[in-house]
């Protein structure tokens, strides 16, 4: 899959998670799942899925180019990789 498509997919996971957070379906359900009330278990699993989504996001949609551009914007002498903190010699700044 093209990188752009993956990136878009990663971004689109965020509104999906936002919707999933509002779990109307377990509102009055007092049953247990994995030893906890299902309403709590759901949100624990939800939190775990957020971890996975964020990992995916920073891995496939990290805006490195944009951050570089912001970090080396108008008036800045920094090279393109300055946003990633690489060393730069004063001679190279010109």
């Amino acid at each position: 899959m093209a990188a752009t498509a993956v990136r878009r997919l990663a971004y689109s996971s965020l509104p999906v998670l936002y919707l999933l957070h509002n779990d109307l379906w377990f509102w009055y359900d007092g049953s247990r799942f994995l030893g906890l009330p299902i309403g709590l278990t759901y949100h624990v699993l939800f939190t775990a899925s957020v971890v996975l989504a964020m990992w995916w996001l920073v891995r496939s949609a990290w805006p490195a180019a944009e951050l570089d551009r912001l970090a080396t914007g108008p008036g800045s002498p920094q090279p393109a990789n300055a946003g990633e903190g690489e060393a730069r010699s004063p001679e190279g700044e010109g």
Binding site: G30, L40, L57, P77, A82
Partner: protein, 930 residues
């Protein structure tokens, strides 16, 4: 025992703070944002610890005691999603911008972005007012916690005093680095102790299942969300964590990151931390109903502490008490530090309370220098790289045109990359007054002439300012049997001059066009200056017409929505309203190069482009209302109009000026650049006359447009000398005063002037040189300018630097009268160089780069010296030499003044232009005759 453990913990915290102070460098940046060196783990822990106050332990358990498990979804999992999202989309970007500009607080961001002192001050007040309660709650919470843990043995004030003393101790000794380290320790403490406590208590309750059974027996409503939380509340609570970046202490920690990628760990692992802290807290709160049912009000807030006292030994109670203290302090310290940072940076330093001349150590020059490369100086921007980068400010300006904030409008910045700092002296006056003054000043006829001038149409246009055009030369036209009767040197011409406005910016092209049209009018010609894209801004009497053609909003909409061209004409005209255009184009925003390329291509394709409706409207107006003898396009980016205008106005001479296109074209990306250039080369052959402002630019454009040089006439640049040339004496010999008068942007080389100022100060000694600068500062160049100003401050030269901002005509002249030398070290090949002419017109020698229009200008005037472009040392040396030689300055000043009077007046410019018109008309007449 408990008190001993807590005191031991506080001592440990102080030691960590003291240890961190060993690495503290004596710079503000290091103290306030740890020199931007915080790594991913510490950033994660400190962000989490700072964001999670003691509420995560005490409040969460108390809330779940009352409400049940729903608290986790309400407050924890919503934060687990939204906070990392804010880190991802906002935090990393804030870091990047803050790192580049050396910003330390939110107020500085606001001031750098909008340049408003007042808004910054207002934000400061708002932040302090909102943050103060947090601080107080933390201090009070420390007192109450200690009182409860010690069963009332320790009074509340003791706990508050302890917590204040410890926090102030390690914050002041270690700065943000110390705070971050302590926070990391404390966050680890309360996470670990919270988990251990939960395990111990749950074990004593017989396990999670057994405890849940007991709760279910008495309070089953606590194991569901039920009616205690309604869905709308859950939905709205998810929005609360979006405010995380608004907290000054979180903001400070963002800025302390070592690099953008440092944010990755907090983004991914923040939800893990949430789960580790909140799951035990929520469960313990719910389980509190087993042994302590029926607690209400404030009593329920202490349910966790009661459980600890009941189930855990003294040792753990003491440790958990320390954990609660840790949770409180981990927020309190960052809040205190951020308040201190704001007060120091945004008030004391900003308003220079107490240290006007303080020097910042060299290694604090800014993050751009310090991050990961061991000091040094800020490099020049754009320096040698810029030959191809071409000054980002210009690119941005071009990419952004006027309509901008919402990316409407784009092309018009094309020819406005240059220009001295000026402003419309009418800017504060209602537009109708401006228009009236323009009409009066233009010497245009009113009243009875209106009939001859097509009064019916003009009344319909409803400008309310009388007729804009002198009576048509109907008698002359009737008498003229020849097809092209206007070739006689004594015949007044009807000239429609199409000039591109530049939104809120005052540009050299606008000033040039305005001065030319004024001079043509003064010579008796019926010249009208028609704004394209936006109204024009000048610092002289503005003679432009009150209607804008090719309104920036409309051309953008036509580009994006092809059907827009079929919108009702009335609606489209509404969007061409000059006031509206002036307002929406006041601040420019970036448009990407591809988008700009598409628009430029469409524009230059004229009748085949998407702006055909605009072209037809313009041609119709010219044909119906004005019937010009000459249509003069300000630059060749308007060549797309030529073919259609030729069809509608077959007798009109089509003239195309040349100014600034080369830079614009260079900034386009292929394939658009090639396509635009090919289209221009094709269409330029339909033009009758091409006019450049100097020999240099004529040659450059001949090559670019693939034309023989003989096709391009030169109508030398000119300025209106009114008010210039009255300098009676130079300023005092010492200190040497170097002036800069141009837009504050990279392409004009302000950074080079600043570096020359530093070098001169190094050579001559501080205080022996002053630097006075003035010029228009566009929104997109603010960051650049702030960076340069910061460098000057870091060099300790701020007391000797004076920035006058945008100046009006008189202020500009006053500035020139008050300097010994003017520098204009443009990094690109300047096509005009108006400020240099203005300096010479006031007897001020100019030091100019040896490229673009300047060599020719100095050859003609002898009013200055050339230095190698981009060579700061040479620039400084030239200024130094002139500064030391009053006779030489006087000689150059006299020569420059005479040269300008002899070669560069608006009247001469008009003469040259008229000569070109006449030649073109004669050629056309001759061609028609044969």
């Amino acid at each position: 025992m408990t008190l001993t453990i807590i005191l031991g913990y506080l001592l440990a915290v102080l030691l960590i703070g003291a240890w961190s102070s060993r690495r503290l460098a004596a710079t503000g940046e290091d103290f306030f944002v740890a020199g931007r060196t915080i790594g991913p783990f510490v950033l994660l822990m400190t962000l989490f610890g700072t964001h999670m106050t003691s509420f995560a332990l005490l409040g969460a358990s108390a809330e779940s005691y009352r409400v049940g498990i729903g608290v986790f979804s309400l407050m924890a999992s919503s934060s687990a999603l939204m906070v990392p999202v804010v880190f991802f989309f906002v935090g990393a970007r804030v870091w990047a911008v803050g790192s580049r500009l050396g910003l330390l607080t939110q107020v500085q961001f606001v001031r750098a972005r909008w340049g408003s002192d007042g808004v910054g001050l207002l934000l400061f007040v708002v932040l302090v007012v909102l943050l103060a309660p947090y601080l107080l709650i933390g201090v009070m919470g420390g007192g109450i916690t200690l009182q409860q843990i010690t069963d009332g043995a320790a009074p509340p004030w003791l706990g508050s005093l302890l917590i204040c003393g410890v926090v102030i101790g390690y914050v002041t000794s270690g700065g943000l680095r110390g705070t971050a380290w302590v926070n990391t320790f404390q966050t680890g403490m309360f996470m670990l102790l919270g988990a251990v406590t939960a395990i111990l208590i749950v074990t004593k309750l017989g396990g999670v299942g057994a405890a849940l059974d007991r709760v279910a027996a008495s309070r089953p409503d606590l194991l569901i969300r039920g009616d205690s939380i309604d869905p709308l509340r859950l939905l709205s609570y998810t929005l609360i964590p979006l405010s995380v970046g608004a907290f000054p202490h979180i903001f400070s920690h963002w800025l302390s990151a070592r690099q953008a990628a440092t944010f990755k760990a907090p983004i991914v692992l923040y939800p893990v931390c949430i789960a580790v802290v909140w799951i035990p807290s929520v469960l313990l709160g719910v389980f509190g109903n087993i042994d302590f049912p029926g607690l209400e009000g404030p009593a329920s807030n202490s349910v966790l502490i009661r459980m600890i006292a009941l189930y855990t030994p003294d040792l753990l109670a003491g440790l958990l008490g320390a954990g609660v203290f840790a949770a409180i302090m981990s927020s309190l310290d960052s809040q205190s530090l951020s308040l201190g940072t704001m007060f120091t940076q945004d008030i004391v330093r900003h308003y220079r309370w107490g240290w006007r001349t303080q020097r910042v150590p060299p290694d604090s020059a800014g993050p751009a220098v310090r991050r990961g490369r061991g000091g040094g100086r800020l490099s020049r921007f754009p320096g040698r790289r810029t030959e191809h980068l071409r000054a980002l400010g210009v690119v941005v300006h071009r990419l952004c045109l006027p309509v901008a904030r919402r990316r409407r409008g784009a092309l018009l910045a094309a020819q406005h990359g240059r220009g001295s700092g000026r402003r419309d002296r009418h800017r504060d006056r209602p537009l109708d007054l401006v228009l009236r003054s323009r009409v009066r000043s233009a010497g245009l006829q009113r009243g009875r002439d209106r009939r001859d001038a097509g009064g019916g149409h003009l009344r319909r246009l409803g400008r309310g300012a009388g007729c804009r055009f002198p009576a048509r030369q109907t008698a002359r036209r009737r008498a003229g049997s020849a097809l092209y009767p206007m070739t006689g040197a004594d015949q007044p011409l009807r000239i429609a001059y199409l000039a591109a406005g530049a939104g809120g910016m005052i540009c050299g092209s606008c000033i040039h066009d305005n001065a030319l049209v004024r001079a043509l009018q003064q010579r008796g010609h019926n010249a009208v200056l028609l704004p394209i894209y936006t109204p024009l801004r000048t610092d002289e009497e503005n003679v432009s017409y009150g209607r804008v053609f090719y309104g920036a909003v409309n051309i953008y909409l036509e580009q994006k929505l092809p059907l827009w061209s079929r919108a009702p004409a009335g609606l489209r005209r509404l969007l061409d309203n000059p006031r509206l255009l002036a307002r929406v184009t006041r601040s420019a925003a970036a448009t990407d190069a591809r988008e700009l390329g598409e628009l430029a291509l469409s524009m230059v394709r004229g009748e085949a482009g998407r702006q055909l409706a605009e072209l037809q409207g313009l041609a119709r107006w010219l044909g119906d209302e004005f019937q010009p003898d000459v249509v003069h396009l300000t630059n060749s980016m308007l060549l797309g109009m030529v073919h259609h205008l030729r069809e509608v106005l077959p007798r009109a001479l089509i003239v195309c000026g040349l100014q600034g296109e080369d830079i614009f074209l260079e900034d386009l990306e292929d394939p658009h650049r090639s396509e635009v250039l090919a289209e221009m080369r094709r269409r330029v052959r339909e033009v009758d006359v091409l006019v450049a402002p100097n020999e240099y630019y004529a040659a450059a454009m001949a090559e670019l447009l693939d034309l023989p040089l003989s096709r391009i006439d030169v109508a030398r640049l000119g300025i209106d000398l009114e008010g210039h040339g009255n300098r009676t004496a130079e300023p005092a010999e010492s200190p040497l005063i170097m002036g800069y008068l141009a837009r504050m942007c990279p392409e004009k080389g302000f950074h080079l002037a600043a570096e020359a100022f530093k070098e001169l100060s190094d050579r001559l000694g501080p205080g022996r040189v002053r630097f006075r600068a003035a010029g228009y500062l566009g929104g997109r160049d603010r960051v650049y300018f702030e960076l340069q100003r910061r460098r000057i401050a870091d060099w300790g030269l701020e007391p000797h630097f004076e920035w006058l901002g945008e100046v009006d005509r008189q202020q500009k002249i006053d500035l020139l009268h008050g300097v010994h030398v003017l520098v204009l070290p443009t990094v690109y090949r300047e096509a005009k160089g108006l400020p240099a002419l203005e300096a010479m017109a006031n007897g001020v020698p100019a030091v100019l780069p040896d490229h673009g229009a300047f060599p020719e200008m100095l050859e003609m005037t002898g009013g200055g010296t050339l230095v190698p472009a981009g060579d700061v040392s040479a620039l400084a040396s030239a200024v130094e030499e002139l500064g030391a030689d009053a006779d030489r300055r006087a000689q150059l000043g006299r020569s420059g003044l005479q040269g300008v009077r002899r070669h560069y007046t608006a009247r001469l410019m008009a003469s040259d232009t008229l000569a070109s018109y006449r030649r073109g008309l004669r050629r056309r007449a001759a061609g028609a005759a044969t």
